[in-house]
Structures are given as C-alpha cells and as structure tokens.
C-alpha cells in the first residue's frame, strides 16, 4: 500500500475528495463505475480546449497542425501505456461502442458473405461467460439473432471463478467468437486471460476481451493477452467520459469491416465509391474526439507518474484487506471467492435482510458512495442467487481508513433496518 504521505499527495489531486456530501466528507468507493477526475488532466483538457481547439486532419493553418499533432500524441501516449502500436488503437465513444463496432462488423460480414473471420452463419457459435456485463453480452445476442448463430455460455463456479476448463467445455469447432472480461465488474476476480485466449484460438475463434475493469487497476499488456480485440474506456481510468478505446491486432483491424463511414476515413472519393484509410482512421469517421483524447492521455500520464505496478499493488493489497474485514461482518455474504484467485480492489456483497438500495442509502448518509443494483450484470446475479448487490470498488486514492470506515458503517446496517 502507498505510504500515508504518498496517499495524501495522490488524494490532493482529486478535488471531489475535499467536497462535503450531505454535510459529511466524501468517501468515494465507486471507481469501478466511474473514476473521479484528477485536477491535472482536467486542467490540461480545458487549457487545450481554450487555447488550441482547431480541426484535426484538416487545414494547413498552425492551430490545425498543432491540434492534429496533439491528437496523434494522445493516441501514442495511450497506446504506449497498454503496450500497443498507436495505429492499432481506435478511439471510440466508449468501450460499449468498441464492442458494438466488432459485433456490427460481424453482422455486416455475415450479410455480405465476408471477410470470413467476421462472417457467421446458422449453426455457428458465440461463446460468452456467466460473468459478463451487459456491454459484452447484448451486442452478441444481436449478432446471434441476425445470423442464426447460437450463444454458448461458459459457466462460473459458485465462487464466481471462470476457469479455462469451463470455457473449453463450451468450445467447439463451430465457435467463431469468444467474448469475455479480464475482470468481472461484480466479482473482482482476475480471469486467466491468456489461457482463455489461447483455448479460443485453438478452435479458430475471434477473441474479444472487455478490459474495462482492469485497465486502470492492473497493467494492461495487450499483446500478452492473446486477444484479437480489447475494449476499454477512459472514464474508468480517471479520464473523461465520451471516449473509449478499441485495440486490435494489426491483422484483425485490417480485415475488420467498418460500419461507420463518412469523412476523415477516406482517401479517394467518387460519387459512387470510395477508398478507405487504414486503421485507426478507417474506424474514426467524422470529427475526432480531440479534447477527450487530450484529457485521457493526461490521465494516463497521471497513472504513469505513480507507476501502474504500484497502483496495482496498492489496490490489490487494500482490496484484500477490504475482503478480509467484510468477511467478518455478520450477515454479509460476499459474491466471489478469494481463494486461489487474484483479485482487483472490488468486492460485491449482499447484506442479509437488507436490500442493496437501502444499504447504499445508509452508506450515502455517511458520505460513502458505493454502487447498488445489478451493476449491468443481471444474469450473473441470478446465477449467484441474488437479485442485486452492493459493490465497493477502490481507486488509486482509496485508503485503509476509508475501507475501515465503510466496513464499520456496514456493520451497523442490519441493526438500523431492524434485522439484527
């Protein structure tokens, strides 16, 4: 864990942590939903917007050239952070859009008969997992509907663990796509990404990895993941909303059909046809998300300055302590085991006799912000035998004192609602 001094320094970067919520200091334990914004990246974004706004990839004037350069630099910064080449990183509006671009490419390819890697037909299979959240589930349901492909679901154990064997159990020679998360946003368990990717590739499937929950908590090394595509979003990495990333291997991006078209992505255009630029431009029609890219890159520098290894170590140590303390609270049932698995700093749980909405409201009255509900993962909750849960998720600014404060508050919840 970070020293107290370092923690104080990091916390100083987040103005919201100095705010009072309902008259009490904010304890923000909802980073997995959206991360707070540090001052530096927001100031960089606003200064850029106020002094350097101009059209990217258009015009020869100085500001336009500088805007283009800044946009390219932002892409390079983010790409380097995930161990990727800049041209293999496509900016999207969100991780959800990134996954949809792949799914829509599959539907388009299926309709027009190619390219083969993206074209599915009746009898083909799409594998996803019980630990999926809606963003990496619904787009594939739509692909199945449109193409006649079948959805196969890799089960998790009662402890929420997704094993390679479970994925292999639903792989067949008809498996065309395997979509899974690096970390479930409900369970916090780090999945065996490389081994699942390799198993999927052995049957020739496309591997689509949702890395939203790991991108700001562990080092995301795209090539080591073995995936063909990875989706992630800026707002979970202390960056702005409205921008996300789609990384793909160069070969996958070159082959993938684009479903969004327009300006900025073309070379030659006639009235009846056009030639497209290679990736990433091919997937970024229209005016780019300039200030968002600048802000995201700066949030990456913010993380880099601390060091991702140290961020991962701080959050997983603190997460382990959170798990341990919560386990000892009467009437709290944690979703997802901590035995034999690596975890990020995220724990979801049910409080016996108290609905998550009520537990969340109780915590809110003490300034503690947590997520309540199904966390966009209804099927997983059903699988684990609960309608919904309460989730505590840690960020780079989280402290042991905050974790202890939240657990203490939770220990009072059942008495308040008269069930203990």
């Amino acid at each position: 864990m970070f020293s107290l001094d370092e923690s104080e320094r990091i916390r100083g970067a987040f103005p919201e942590l100095r705010e009072l919520v309902n008259g009490v200091p904010l304890v923000y334990l909802d980073t997995a939903a959206t991360a707070l914004r540090p001052t530096g990246p927001v100031e960089r974004e606003s200064t850029f917007a106020l002094t350097r706004t101009a059209a990217v990839n258009r015009g020869a004037h100085t500001l336009a050239a500088e805007a283009t350069e800044a946009y390219d630099d932002a892409r390079a910064t983010i790409a380097t952070f995930i161990g990727a080449r800049p041209n293999d990183l496509v900016f999207t509006s969100s991780a959800t859009e990134a996954i949809n671009l792949i799914a829509l490419a599959c539907r388009l390819a299926s309709a027009v008969g190619g390219p083969a890697r993206f074209a599915l037909s009746a009898g083909d299979e799409i594998v996803h997992t019980e630990s999926e959240h809606h963003a990496n589930l619904i787009p594939w349901q739509e692909v199945a509907k449109a193409t006649g492909a079948t959805l196969r679901i890799a089960p998790v154990t009662d402890g929420g663990v997704l094993t390679v064997a479970a994925v292999e159990s639903v792989l067949t020679d008809r498996t065309r796509v395997v979509a899974f998360p690096s970390v479930s946003n409900v369970l916090g368990i780090i999945n065996p990404v490389r081994a699942i990717s390799d198993a999927a590739h052995r049957v020739g499937a496309l591997v689509v990895l949702d890395a939203c929950q790991s991108a700001s908590h562990t080092t995301l090394a795209v090539t080591e993941s073995g995936a063909d595509f990875i989706a992630f979003s800026a707002h979970k990495m202390y960056g702005p909303t409205g921008i996300g990333g789609l990384w793909g291997t160069a070969a996958s991006l070159a082959e993938m059909p684009t479903v969004l078209t327009g300006g900025s992505m073309i070379t030659r255009v006639d009235f009846d046809s056009a030639d497209y630029l290679p990736a990433p431009a091919k997937f970024e029609p229209g005016t780019p998300r300039l200030t968002q890219a600048i802000g995201w890159a700066e949030s990456i520098r913010f993380l880099d300055d601390i060091g991702m290894d140290r961020v991962a170590d701080h959050e997983s140590s603190l997460g382990a302590e959170l798990y341990r303390l919560l386990s000892a609270v009467d009437g709290v049932r944690i979703l997802g085991t901590d035995e034999g698995v690596d975890r990020v700093g995220l724990v979801s749980f049910a409080v016996d006799g108290v609905h998550p909405h009520d537990a969340g409201q109780f915590l809110d009255s003490k300034g503690i912000a947590v997520r309540v509900g199904h966390h966009c993962a209804q099927p997983l909750h059903k699988r684990l035998g609960v309608d919904s849960s309460t989730r505590i998720s840690l960020g780079v600014h989280s402290t042991l004192a905050e974790v202890e404060f939240a657990v203490d508050a939770l220990a009072q919840v059942r008495a308040f609602f008269g069930v203990a």
Partner: protein, 148 residues
C-alpha cells in the same frame, strides 16, 4: 439529508409486515420492473362486481424497503375506495413524490403513506416508492378492459 427523514419506523414496519402480500385470487396482475435496481412487483387490484370499487390489492415482489413499504401501505389504505377516489389519491401521491420535498402528504388523507413524504427529497428513490402505484394503475386498466 437526515436518513431518519427517509426511513421512518412505520416504513420499516410495513417492510416487514407487508399488507396484501401474496396473490391468492384470479385477477389481472401488472408486472412492473425497475431496471436500475432490479426491483420487481406483481400486483393486482381486485374490484367489486360493478367494477367501481377496490375490494383489495394483492401483490408479490422483491425490492428495497421503500418499494415494499409503499406497496404494503397502498394495499392497506386503498381498500374500499371508488376508482374515482383512487385516481385522485394516486395523483396526489405521485405529485408529492415528484415535489422534491415541497409537498408533505396529509396524514388524515394518506394514513401511513404520509410517512413516505420524505422520499421525495431523495430523487433516486422516487421510482422505488412509485413502483407499486404504477402497477396498481395498470392493473385497474387491465381489469376495466376485461369488463368491457
């Protein structure tokens, strides 16, 4: 905002007691679901033979204390109302819930339901309190439709 202004004891009592819980008769239940929290309710309004008076309200469901207490209180307070009375009653309740703390429900008129007045200050919880009411209005429409 004080937590106690939201969770009065009477709400927690209804959360446990659940008046009208259990769908025991044939009727026209309405299923309502709150996608943000996963709360759901199945609720039916049983009308008199002439279709003008509420004989009872039966419901089942899962949800937070506010949504469950609201359903329980609705079942307790609306018994014997004419549909015209119920329409005014539900309209007043909805208006209070949307008032962001401006309207306090009259205890004479609303009985235990007046204790839900505090919910209107917690904007995220208004839907919880309204879930059973939306189902009741829908069930009345379904039931009336079946009579025509």
């Amino acid at each position: 905002m004080e937590l106690e202004s939201l969770y009065q004891q009477i709400i927690l009592d209804h959360y446990k007691r659940k008046v009208g819980y259990g769908i025991d008769h044939g009727g026209y239940p309405s299923h309502q679901y709150n996608p943000t929290c996963g709360d759901e309710i199945n609720l039916q309004v049983l009308l008199s033979a002439d279709g003008n008076t509420i004989e009872s309200i039966e419901w089942e469901g899962t949800g937070c204390s506010i949504s469950q207490a609201s359903a329980s209180m609705l079942a307790a307070e609306s018994k014997g109302m004419t549909l015209a009375e119920f329409e005014t009653f539900a309209g007043g309740f909805r208006e209070a819930m949307r008032s962001r703390g401006e309207i306090v429900l009259d205890e004479e008129e609303y009985g235990d339901l007046a204790s839900l007045s505090g919910v209107s200050k917690f904007v995220a919880r208004v839907k919880c309190a309204m879930l059973a009411w939306v189902a009741a209005e829908d069930s009345v429409t379904l039931t009336r439709g079946s009579l025509n």
